[in-house]
Amino acid sequence: MSEPILKVEGVQAKYGDFIAVHSATLDVPEGKIVSLIGSNGAGKSTLMDTVAGLHKPSAGKIYFKGEDITGLPAEKIVLRGLSLVPQGSRCFIRMSVEDNLIMGSFPKTARKNVKKNLERVYSLFPVLKEKRNDPSGSLSGGQRQMVAIGRALMTEPDCLLFDELSLGLAPTIIKDIYANVKDINRDGTTILLVEQDTQRAIKTGEICHVMLKGNVVLSGLSKELGDDEIKKAYFGI
């Protein structure tokens, strides 16, 4: 297995006194698609927010490309090539689609390639080119998710985190977006995928981690993990 691009070691994250993530440990090997599954409230989204720098960990270490990024703010982490597509897409709803995408080029390292990256996003999601001047608030849920993915791609990430990619989307759209995710991975971007749609996550990710009540309780190659094993880890039985 290749060297992990992202290492999470015993990370704890709290909201006030409530501990959402107890002690999460997981590796994301470079160039792979890794999925992270778990039931509602298992702490997946909090862990993603913590890795991306939106939430400060109260214990543990996070390494990206071998460097310690624990506790760095989100605006610094994105400069190192780690980008999060947050839950519910979180577009800048009053800005046009194109302005949303160009915001992804805000990091100085990404600015010189704006045109090239914009073309790449438009070829990945042709519908965004048609709607480039529309405010992103007028788009459908699937199109907003495309804007969020495109915007994250514009930051030129080496590793992309997807939080609940399929939440609230129609099945046909989910299928298309997952095809796009595989394309993005094929172009060399490592992907960590958080999903509630367990089947799809296991099918897409080469490696699978299962979270339960704030801990990563099972990790392994997706094809080697048995259904029963995953079920037990997922429900904690």
Partner: protein
């Protein structure tokens, strides 16, 4: 013909009101803060322009070259050094800090500049064009032009530059903006700096058109509030139209009724269309 004259006067006045409100609406829309010191910022700008122009003997309009950058830096310093810190504790403490700032600034100006009325007269103050029965003061045209140029530059900056886009993005979703590499605190600092720079322009307009005192800020704060309420917070086109609406109300109502009509329109908007003219 008198009605045409009224409308022209209202539009001319509206420009000043718009530039008064634009800084307030930016802070409302981006930092999500009610800046109760905005009126004092404007008066500070008025004093700065008046004093620099009388000391150096230059045209008051030229003082903008100095006052805009200085006011920008003061705004950025206030936001980064003071307001950002209290904003961590919630929006009410920040509101109170701006209230405190307004009192401190008012007393500071009273101490430094005395309570005497001031005015920055220019050479063009008394020039009036007559087109048929309609007369237009050159000063009013210049002030409208200054206001328009300020607002156009500001909206181009927000539309076309990376920094401007990052300000709009922060106003839509702070967390998502930080995921794009935007430092939210730095952005708030820049936004306050810009608001302060527009206050320098508004201050110059006021110093040229009217007399002012250290205590004049409160009245202008209310006008700025009116512009924000009618135009909708954060909306620049809304600011322009709201400025003209208030300008017309002021001119049509005259000295006796102008203020009353302005506030009635403001209340009407709060009841019927609280999001303002251009916001959805």
């Amino acid at each position: 013909m008198q009605i045409v004259q009224l409308i022209i006067n209202g539009i001319l006045l509206g420009g000043i009101y718009a530039v008064l409100g634009v800084g307030m609406t930016m802070i409302f829309g981006i930092v999500k803060l009610t800046n109760l010191a905005h009126g004092e910022f404007v008066i500070l700008g008025a004093y700065a322009s008046t004093l620099i122009s009388t000391t150096l003997g230059v045209d008051p309009i030229l003082t903008l070259i100095v006052t805009i950058p200085i006011m920008f830096l003061i705004g950025m310093g206030l936001q980064s050094g003071l307001i950002n810190r209290v904003m961590l504790k919630g929006s009410e403490p920040a509101l109170l800090v701006t209230f405190g700032l307004s009192i401190i600034l008012q007393d500071l100006m009273l101490l430094l500049f005395t309570a005497d009325a001031r005015h920055a007269g220019g050479a063009y103050s008394s020039i009036v064009f007559n087109i048929g029965p309609i007369s237009i003061a050159l000063l009013d045209v210049i002030l409208l032009a200054i206001s328009l140029v300020t607002i156009i530059i500001l909206s181009l900056f927000l539309k076309k530059t990376y920094l401007g886009r990052s300000i709009r993005a922060t106003s839509d979703d702070t967390q998502a903006a930080s995921l794009m590499g935007v430092s939210v605190k730095k952005t708030y600092g820049i936004a306050m700096g810009i608001a302060m720079a527009t206050a320098a322009v508004a201050g110059l307009c006021i110093a040229l058109k009217w007399t002012f005192y250290p205590s004049s800020g409160g009245g202008y704060l209310l006008t700025a509030f009116g512009v924000v309420v009618i135009g909708g917070m954060g909306s620049i086109p809304g600011t322009m139209v709201a400025g003209v609406i208030l300008g017309l109300a002021q001119v049509i109502g005259g000295a006796n009724w102008g203020q009353l009509i302005s506030y009635l329109i403001m209340v009407l908007f709060l009841v019927v269309r609280p999001q303002g003219l251009f916001n959805k």
